[in-house]
């Protein structure tokens, strides 16, 4: 019987090596492409009619659009509106990645820390660039909290620096740990169902409830990832 962690194994589908760099097309790459395609279809089909009174699909697109726009307005303010495409893309990519992973035999690419860390680094680098472009050298003032006594600076600056550098790691661990733990738990309970034979019905019921929770977690984690990206962006723009 497969280990519950077997589902996270990255398998090479099309081997491809350029020099010493391994550019193989893996199951992770396939599901990332499927996720991008699903987003394209979701937005394309939803906005095809562009009717004044939206239908079900158009409402779904509009709700997700307004959710992210409202989130940016609440957390960053009006100055953050120009970053809407960035946050919206990240939200949809993570959400569709999480939801695609809920399909049996599908691969959950958001359970790979290298991917979540890559996404978090993208946010981190973008936010740092925005901070420097907006405030220049004054962005370094961010590492000394406003109102803090000056004699505390030698302690506070290293602490704030470590806190700032730990952001991408914290952001990536949050998403990766949630997805990996949830999917492992589902597989463990599924194994119980097989092992318990006729009594396995109890774990089937439990697994059904857990799948519902996991769908909720899929939405929640995509939302949390976007909210934290917004908060980091707010720190860079509003400097507090």
């Amino acid at each position: 019987m497969d280990s519950p962690l077997e589902q996270f194994r990255v398998k090479v589908l099309i081997p491809l090596h350029v020099g010493t760099v391994d550019l193989s097309f893996t199951n992770s790459s396939l599901f990332m492409m499927l996720s991008a395609l699903a987003i394209f279809l979701f937005l394309g089909v939803g906005l095809r009619k562009k009717s004044l009174v939206p239908g079900r699909f158009q409402s779904l697109v509009e709700i997700s659009y307004e959710l992210i726009l409202g989130m940016i307005r609440d957390n960053v303010g009006d100055a953050g509106k120009q970053f809407f495409p960035f946050i919206f893309s990240i939200f949809l990519f993570v959400l569709f990645g999480n939801l695609l992973g809920m399909i049996p035999y599908a691969f959950t690419f958001t359970s790979q820390i290298i991917l979540t860390f890559g996404l978090a680094c993208l946010v981190f680098v973008a936010v740092t660039i925005v901070g420097f472009l907006k405030h220049g050298v004054r962005f370094f003032k961010f590492f000394l909290p406003s109102g803090a006594p000056l004699f505390m600076a030698p302690i506070l600056i290293p602490i704030e620096l470590i806190s700032y550098l730990s952001r991408p790691l914290s952001l990536s661990i949050r998403l990766f740990a949630n997805m990996m733990a949830g999917h492992t738990m589902l597989k463990v309970f599924a194994l119980f169902t097989v092992l318990l034979g006729a009594y396995g019905i109890s774990t089937v019921l439990l697994n059904t409830i857990l799948i519902g929770f996991e769908v909720l977690v899929a939405f929640l984690q995509a939302y949390v990832f976007s909210v934290l990206s917004c908060l980091y962006l707010s720190d860079a723009i509003n400097m507090h």
């Binding site: 609440d74 803090a148 470590i162 806190s163 730990s166 790691l169 661990i173 949050r174 929640l220 507090h240």
Partner: protein, 126 residues
């Protein structure tokens, strides 16, 4: 009779809150929605805050130790680089938790801390 009145009053109240009837009310609601909002950090539910705090603590510890190891590879600090990095990371993790508590109103911001220190000094001086 009283029950009927109560039902009518409740209907009126809910209509006023959720569905602005007059044009003026609807206009005010739309204008209110269009007003640019400032940056407001909403309160986070405690469960997700606790999970976030644990992630923050682990990340700060890993980054602190990582910086310590990096410092050891550039300067002859072994083993003090990783020890100092570990402690700085741990302090940063706790400090992050404190900051998230301050955000939801359970702690003192730096301005208030400075004011308290100044008051204490004034009291000590007489």
């Amino acid at each position: 009779m009283h029950l009927q009145r109560l039902v009518v009053w409740l209907k009126k109240m809910t209509m006023k809150k959720n569905n602005p009837q007059t044009f003026q009310e609807r206009l005010e609601k739309v204008q209110d929605d269009l007003v640019p909002r400032g940056s407001t950090h909403g309160a986070t539910p405690f469960k997700s805050m606790a999970y976030g705090a644990s992630c923050d603590m682990i990340a700060a510890l890993v980054v602190g130790c990582g910086l310590g190891v990096m410092a050891e590879s550039f300067f002859p600090l072994s083993p003090w680089g990783i020890i100092l990095g570990f402690f700085l990371g741990a302090i940063t993790g706790l400090f992050n938790v404190y900051k998230s508590l301050v955000k939801i109103g359970y702690g003192l911001e730096w301005d208030k801390v400075t004011t308290l220190i100044e008051k204490k000094k004034e009291m000590d001086n007489g």
